[in-house]
Amino acid sequence: MSSGKVLTMNEKSRITTLTTRNLTHPLESDGCGECQTSCQSACKTSCGVVNQLCEQDND
């Protein structure tokens, strides 16, 4: 079970920012396309892409 990680806690801990992938950072290419197709996992009847893992090391 992976835990969410905390990026920053500021202003007397009024705000806790979770570590997330920044989606406004452009990639070098238009995406590698190697990640799993969402309907190959478990759904088959409703779409969500956010539960797929990126195949690249995106640290």
Partner: protein, 452 residues
């Protein structure tokens, strides 16, 4: 755009374009709601009856810092804001190896496995051709995916095994890696299926609807009797012996079990720790169809499930629910989030005869016949139509905070509900947004209360 919500004692602000997620206190929550277009003094005046001015100004500094860092009220970079175009690359096939089934579930979107056509099994020759077709059309993609689907694929088990063996023989020569999934109702699982599946299938999807009375309501044999008692021991044994890859027990819930959370918890209590549960896909006039009136109860159910999962996690009895699974750091890139599931472009469904359709949910519709395994895609207008089917081209998605989590949703569902591939399924969207709120709340909870 920023989406704010409170759930289970947590207040969250989600910055849609950057994907940033902030757990905030009540004062910051109020400030974020007021922030767009207002000066500091106006915000202070608005909140002065509830908070001391010094606190408001101090919290506002924190909010401003997030905005300055591009983590709140951010804008998408111009270079990313362009619709997808058809690349011609195909990387995933849903192989309908059996258009027939040994169960008679009346809620089946595939019409008891036949997709409203004749019963049929895919031949080994067609299976081999499908593997060649995938390699030929996959361009530079290395990871290729094949889902053995139906109907019930175990009714054509020897063909499945032959197809896997053939695909493996292509891997080294063409520098490809096949990932196989098997979706089964479980009736024909035996030692051979368990061993082969464990060895060759990266993922196994096991159809179980939950409690016995729920499962047996729809999942019945040709004789009309429920199959829970037959399949459950087989699923338990398959999962017990599974030493690699993933699996999901996957259920469908309907209007008749709006308390579907009880079914999920039942499966968790049985020892399954990878669980999925899908809203039924059906015509709106079916008695089991979900309706807008069901939404409050269903949404409340998801919230209860999320809280219960956190509680079980804290007690060392956690399990994974597919629709709450989200990886904020290693999740999909922006392009995946814009382009969606790839139906009709990089993902196609194949009938037993070798005909190609945009996805498994559109197999029964001749208007969506795209070509076949031997001639390839012969309806480029369909490929183009699906390539244009993304989150940027769906009008209804533009004001939705969850659009980069679903990538515009399921084109087949949208088509069946609205008659338009670029439409939406409003009930499905509402449920999806609630599931994402639950997933994000759980991430926040895990962040401040990390598992020991």
């Amino acid at each position: 755009m920023v989406h704010q919500f409170k759930q289970n004692g947590y207040a969250l602000a989600v910055d849609v374009e950057s994907g940033s997620v902030h757990l905030v206190d009540d004062l910051v929550y109020d400030i974020i709601a007021l922030y767009p277009g207002r000066e500091e003094e106006e915000i202070v005046r608005n909140l002065a009856d509830r908070w001391p001015a010094g606190d408001i100004r101090e919290a506002l500094t924190g909010v401003q810092a997030l905005v300055d860092q591009g983590l709140l009220y951010s804008s998408r970079q111009a270079g990313i804001s362009r619709p997808a175009t058809a690349s011609g690359i195909i990387k995933a096939l849903c192989l309908n190896v059996a258009h027939t089934c040994n169960l008679n579930c009346c809620y089946c979107f595939a019409a008891q496995g036949t997709y409203k056509g004749e019963k049929a099994l895919m031949s080994p020759e067609t299976g081999r051709r499908a593997m060649d077709f995938l390699v030929e059309n996959s361009g530079s993609r290395r990871n290729l995916e094949v889902d053995f689907f139906g109907g019930e694929p175990l009714l054509n088990w020897s063909m499945v095994k032959e197809t896997v063996a053939y695909a493996r023989s292509l891997e080294e020569r063409f520098n490809k890696r096949f990932r196989f999934t098997l979706t089964t109702n479980g009736l024909l699982i035996d030692d051979d299926v368990i061993d082969f599946t464990n060895r060759e299938m990266d993922n196994v999807v096991l159809s179980l609807d939950g409690r016995k009375e729920t499962h047996d309501r729809f999942r019945v044999t040709m004789g009309g009797s429920g199959c829970y008692d037959i399949v459950l021991p087989k699923f338990l044994e398959l999962v017990r012996r599974r030493s690699r890859g993933t699996y999901y027990v996957r259920g469908t819930y309907t209007h008749f079990n709006r308390d579907f959370v009880e079914d999920i918890l039942h499966m968790a209590d049985l020892g399954f720790d990878e669980i999925s549960m899908e809203p039924v896909v059906s015509a709106p006039d079916e008695p089991y169809a979900l309706t807008a009136e069901d939404l409050p109860q269903l949404k409340e159910g998801y919230e209860r499930l999320a809280a219960e999962m956190l509680d079980r996690q804290a007690r060392g009895k956690g399990f994974r629910f597919y629709h709450f699974t989200i990886d904020l750091e290693k999740g999909p890139c922006i392009y995946k989030r814009l382009n969606g599931c790839g139906s009709g472009t990089e993902y196609l469904a194949v009938t037993p005869a070798g005909d190609l359709y945009p996805c498994h949910q559109l197999v029964d519709d001749p208007d969506f016949l795209m070509g076949n395994l031997w001639e390839g895609v012969t309806a480029p207008h369909l490929a183009e139509a699906f390539a244009q089917c993304n989150v940027l081209t769906r009008e209804d998605c533009q004001d939705c905070w969850a659009r980069l989590y679903c990538a515009g949703g399921c084109a087949a569902n949208a088509y069946h509900v609205s008659g338009d591939l670029l439409g939406i399924d409003p009930v499905g969207c509402e449920l999806f947004r609630k599931r994402m709120e639950c997933a994000l709340m759980m991430k926040a909870a895990e962040a401040v209360n990390p598992a020991k």
